[in-house]
């Protein structure tokens, strides 16, 4: 029997990309995607279930579909995308319910993969240049996003302890850039204005969006329990991110930069979420040897990820959108997924 995979957040960027990646794997028998909205990417054989993150529904779905792998991509890592209440609901409550459903007695689940973020390390002056997975953060928890992700990881850790027969993998991703992903940093780069803190030019890491999907896919196809950092090789100064990305630096004062960023944010030009303040002051580096040792190979370096964004952005600036917008049409999608007349694996 092939693998049966459940993906959360099918309607989000990562859920959609992950489902597409798994569809290409012949040993994946069934892909089930949960989402609150309809998927935004064309999918060939992924089943879509519209559901909120309620426990009762999740446990029924898990039992009925006998999934063996859960890929939990539906974690919000951008605190200005959603109000903080919603952030808590999605991240903490969503994970809580999902793990409860996955750990129900007689469960078919064997593997759980959680997409976390290196935000859990925070950013402080006394940080080591390279955080290893077992290192704890040095500074106090300052932002709601960090607190919420730390809570999620604590839940996952307890879950792993309670279910030793399950392979639980937590992947902590560095800031992502790439051809399509929209993050506060990519938004700023697109507007050609990258906020920085005057007098600071910290070293940062990035991971390319394809490497994110590949790392998630790697964790589903291998048995790699534990916590792993995922970031492209090398580091680069923040000023160089602006220079590769074709943006100007917008210096904010070192004291209370968010106060000064707020009006700019209001005007819509600049995104400066609270969790960015530490990053652009002290930067962050994570040691990626553990995942490498497990056998994962990166395609992009940190600078390569920024460059990947820059190249796509150049194209966008010249020709508009790189990929035509996809419109989800329920009937057509149903036809593609279920009709025996569709010859699968030719064209997506």
């Amino acid at each position: 029997m092939g693998r049966r995979v459940l993906i959360t957040g099918l309607d989000t960027f990562w859920g959609g990309r992950m489902a597409q990646a798994l569809e290409a794997k012949s040993d994946v028998e069934m892909i089930l995607g949960l989402g609150t909205k309809e998927p935004r990417v064309p999918l060939e054989r992924t089943e879509f279930v519209r559901s909120d993150q309620k426990y009762s529904i999740l446990s029924r779905i898990v039992r009925a579909t006998q999934v063996d792998t859960i890929v939990h991509t539906f974690l919000e890592t951008n605190s200005i995308a959603v109000p903080s209440r919603v952030l808590h609901e999605i991240n903490v409550i969503g994970t809580l319910n999902l793990l409860a459903a996955a750990g129900a007695s007689g469960t078919s689940v064997r593997k759980v993969i959680v997409k976390s973020s290196t935000h859990v390390y925070g950013a402080a002056a006394q940080d080591p240049a390279w955080f290893r997975e077992e290192d704890s953060r040095t500074g106090p928890v300052r932002t709601k996003l960090e607190r919420s992700l730390l809570e999620v990881e604590a839940l996952v850790r307890d879950f792993a302890d309670d279910n030793p027969h399950l392979a639980v993998t937590v992947l902590r991703f560095a800031n992502v850039l790439g051809t399509d992903i929209v993050t506060p940093i990519s938004h700023n780069l697109r507007r050609r204005l990258l906020p920085c803190i005057a007098g600071f030019d910290p070293l940062v890491q990035f991971v390319e969006e394809d490497d994110v999907v590949r790392a998630l896919e790697f964790a589903t196809s291998h048995r790699v329990p534990g916590v792993f950092n995922v970031a492209g090789e090398g580091k680069l100064p923040w000023s160089e991110v602006a220079s590769i990305g074709g943006a100007h630096l917008l210096p904010l004062p070192p004291v209370r930069p968010r106060l000064f960023a707020a009006p700019l944010q209001r005007l819509g030009g600049v995104r400066f979420p609270p969790e960015m303040e530490g990053l652009v002051t002290y930067g962050r580096g994570v040691d990626t040897n553990a995942l490498r040792a497990a056998g994962f190979e990166y395609r992009y370096t940190s600078a390569g990820a920024v460059n990947s964004f820059a190249r796509a952005n150049n194209l966008r600036r010249t020709t508009g959108n790189t990929s035509p917008a996809y419109r989800y049409e329920q009937d057509v999608e149903q036809f593609f997924r279920h009709s025996p007349t569709v010859v699968r694996g030719i064209d997506s």
């Binding site: 002056a125 006394q126 940080d127 080591p128 240049a129 390279w130 290893r132 290192d135 803190i197 005057a198 007098g199 600071f200 030019d201 070293l203 090789e233 090398g234 580091k235 680069l236 100064p237 000023s239 160089e240 220079s243 590769i244 070192p254 002290y282 580096g285 370096t301 600078a303 390569g304 920024v306 460059n307």
Partner: protein, 336 residues
């Protein structure tokens, strides 16, 4: 404040650049200065031509002395800032600015420089002195110009928190002192790291305590060298104490300014605020001692604390003896 001109010998760079060179940073005007100075003695900077240098850190033209150890062929990069924040390009500017200071102000004299290996990791340790320490730039400059290999100067993370200064400190080879950082530099990258085991206890001590070594921390430097499997090379420095002697400390001011300490120095009495960016022309003598190796298995998580403390104390004693030796031989603070 009035006596600024009096204490400034001719031909010296302006005070602003002066202190920046000392503490290891070069401001934007540094480049203008760099263009004027045609110093041919640079060995490391041979590859980089400063004539067209702009404000950003331009890549050094594929230098053979590229400090990056991991052969990271990354065509996307636009600068030569390595993963510690050090830029060989910035270093070469700093070296050009600092060289006259090194040669004609402190008249630095080395003894036993050949004991520092030209390849492989080694942990350099030295005694620390001067309210704003003048020894670190001298040691880093000397080794980089003489041996042509980079030195990472490890210091308190406090530097990182200073806007502008922190960035320049990092670009010119400063790294926050953290055991993991030191291990990576020494073991994984086989580079030279310079640490001052006494820390700020040494730089904040008053003139009355000059050349009396403080406690060598908790012996962390010994443990790192053991774990990384690299030798410790002690360097005894004479002269730094007299370049910026502390008369007393003002703890209230330090607290108010959130500084580790606030010194009142001889320099500041003579020159006012400018005293904090001007050193007295003490003669520098540096003696490199024999490398110390440990017959322990590298790579362990922990080493016997008593062994570590014994070694730290032994090294401290050797350095203290050497300092006394050098002071016995010294006839004049200013002429050596």
């Amino acid at each position: 404040m009035e006596s600024v001109g009096a204490a400034r010998p001719a031909g010296r760079p302006g005070d602003r650049e002066f202190i920046d060179a000392i503490v290891g940073h070069a401001p934007a005007q540094a480049e203008r200065q760099a263009e004027r100075q045609a110093d041919e003695t640079e060995k490391i900077a041979a590859a980089s031509d400063l004539a067209g240098a702009s404000v950003s850190y331009l890549p050094v033209a594929a230098g053979r002395n590229e400090p990056e150890v991991e052969e990271l062929v990354d065509e996307a990069r636009r600068s030569d800032v390595d993963e510690w924040g050090r830029s060989e390009h910035m270093r070469s500017i700093v070296r050009r600015l600092y060289d006259p200071m090194y040669r004609y102000w402190f008249r630095v004299e080395w003894e036993g420089l050949e004991k520092i290996p030209t390849e492989g990791g080694a942990l350099l340790i030295a005694n620390h002195a001067g309210a704003i320490p003048s020894d670190a730039p001298a040691i880093m400059h000397g080794i980089e110009t003489e041996l042509g290999r980079p030195v990472y100067g490890m210091a308190d993370y406090f530097f990182r928190t200073l806007p502008g200064i922190g960035t320049m400190w990092s670009r010119s080879g400063g790294v926050p002192a953290h055991p993991d950082n030191a291990y990576r530099i020494l073991h994984d990258q086989q580079q030279l790291a310079l640490v001052f085991p006494e820390g700020t206890k040494a730089t904040s001590k008053t003139y009355a305590d000059r050349y009396r070594l403080r406690r060598f921390g908790r012996g962390g430097f010994v443990e790192i060298a053991m774990r990384a499997g690299v030798p410790i090379i002690p360097i005894a420095v004479v002269g730094a104490e007299e370049s910026m002697p502390i008369l007393f400390r003002m703890n209230g001011v330090a607290k108010a300014l959130k500084l580790p300490y606030f010194p009142v120095t001889v320099n500041s009495l003579l020159l006012g605020p400018l005293g904090y960016v001007t050193y007295l022309p003490a003669k520098f003598k540096l003696r490199v001692l024999d490398p110390i190796t440990f017959d322990v298995e590298p790579g362990l998580e922990r080493y016997s604390k008593s062994r570590v403390m014994d070694e730290a104390e032994r090294i401290r004693a050797i350095m203290q003896d050497t300092l006394h030796d050098m002071l016995r031989e010294r006839r004049s603070v200013w002429f050596g």
